[in-house]
Amino acid sequence: MEKLGIDPILIGIQVANFFVLLFLLKKYLYKPVLEMLDKRKNSVEQAEQLRQEMEKQKSARDEEHKQVIDNAKKEAEQLLDEVKQQGETIKKQLQSEAKEKAERIVSKAEAEAQQKEESIRQELANEVKKSAVESAELVLSQQLTDEQKQAILQQAVQRFGN
């Protein structure tokens, strides 16, 4: 061993030194580092969990928000439809009423016109008849002879009291 340049004592010391160093490193360096790494790992995991939780919450809120918006949109659409329908109904009703009113006015005007026409026609007919009677009366008053008047008087006397 000595011929090979190997000193067993030195090797023994170095081995002992190695184990001492290993012990010291393990006790004062590895353990805190490992603890720190564990803590770090835990912290990262917690952060990740928190992130995931927050992500879920955000997703749920987004979903809820979307749901609310969708509901609001649906309600708004329904309301709009109802308003449109009501508007349409009112429009139709107003149109119908206006049409009926117009028809009534036209009908009344026609009736009045017809009545007026009938009245004018009647007045005209009366005027014609009156005029005819007056003309006949005038002609008769001028054309009757004394003999004819006497004959009429005699007939009238005969008729009286019979």
Partner: protein, 100 residues
């Protein structure tokens, strides 16, 4: 006294006037008026008198008036009753019948 006499005379005059007026009205009410056109011969007159007395026994007197406005025929009025057989009357009836 004199005033009293004057007043009594005035009252008597009023009463006489009212009585006379009432008498005249009564007389007028009993007159039957015959309006005619043409010559009313004594024969026609007699016929009319007989018929009028028969129809209106309460008529005391008859009054005959020629009225050319009738054109022809006759019209007899007694109180509120009128018998119209004149041409004018007939035209009047015709007018009232034709004019609506």
């Amino acid at each position: 006294m004199k005033e009293q006499t004057t007043q009594n005379n005035r009252v008597s005059s009023d009463v006489i006037q009212k009585a006379l007026s009432a008498y005249m009205q009564a007389e007028e009410a009993n007159v039957a008026t015959v309006e005619y056109v043409g010559v009313l011969t004594s024969e026609l007159k007699t016929q009319l008198e007989e018929k009028i007395v028969k129809l209106f026994p309460e008529s005391a007197t008859l009054e005959f008036v020629e009225n050319p406005k009738l054109i022809a025929g006759l019209r007899i009025s007694f109180r509120d009753q009128v018998y119209d057989d004149s041409v004018v009357g007939r035209f009047g009836k015709l007018r009232s019948l034709t004019v609506e």
